[in-house]
Symmetry: C2
Subunit: 136 residues, 2 copies
Amino acid sequence: MSAIADREALLFANEAFYQAFSARDIAALDALWSKAEPVLCIHPGWPALAGRDEVMASWTRILANPDAPKIECRAPRAHVLGDVGLVLCYELISGQALVATNVFRREGRTWKLVHHQAGPAPPPPAPTPEETPRPN
Amino acid sequence: MSAIADREALLFANEAFYQAFSARDIAALDALWSKAEPVLCIHPGWPALAGRDEVMASWTRILANPDAPKIECRAPRAHVLGDVGLVLCYELISGQALVATNVFRREGRTWKLVHHQAGPAPPPPAPTPEETPRPN
């Protein structure tokens, strides 16, 4: 796979994460997290979570909240380090910005999440033309 | 290198990072960050920084502050993913807790920092007996 295609696949996996999050689709979210590696997660203001059971339980709790606001991913930047992929991006939740580190591990032809940390941030940079949402 | 020695080396690099931070030793800090890979950094409440110049300039600015409080690393947990190492740990700064993700890349026999994110956290777990600081 070319370096560009590799990075595109990483951004695609990152986008799938935010789509599953926004759709409150726990099955889709579960499928995006690695089953081969121990997984980790730091939600804003939470302690560090470790292990698939603890991490997936946290997502189930977050997504079960019917008042959970929509989340939007902005300005993602992907970095491939061999078989590990890092995506740094902003998250917009009800007008508030967070900044996130998403760590993926290559598994076959896909990238699976192994770690997520999000924390408070200043507003993200303005979207570039390619990032501006197109009308459907 | 055995898996245990590998993880120990990763924890050692993580500890060196906090020692350089606490000693406000910018040369030691600089030496711990990768020169082979693009580096990234998210300080609490800052935008995501990318590239060695931007990241090292941020550390120079932080460490130049003579009132910078001491930082203490607590409850580090290391995870090796091939040639990438993740350390999750708490940071204690003037009694306030942060939680951090430190990402390292294997370079020869050492681990070099490629990414750091810290954000607000609840208090860390109580130190285990091995973690309790010994009198010098």
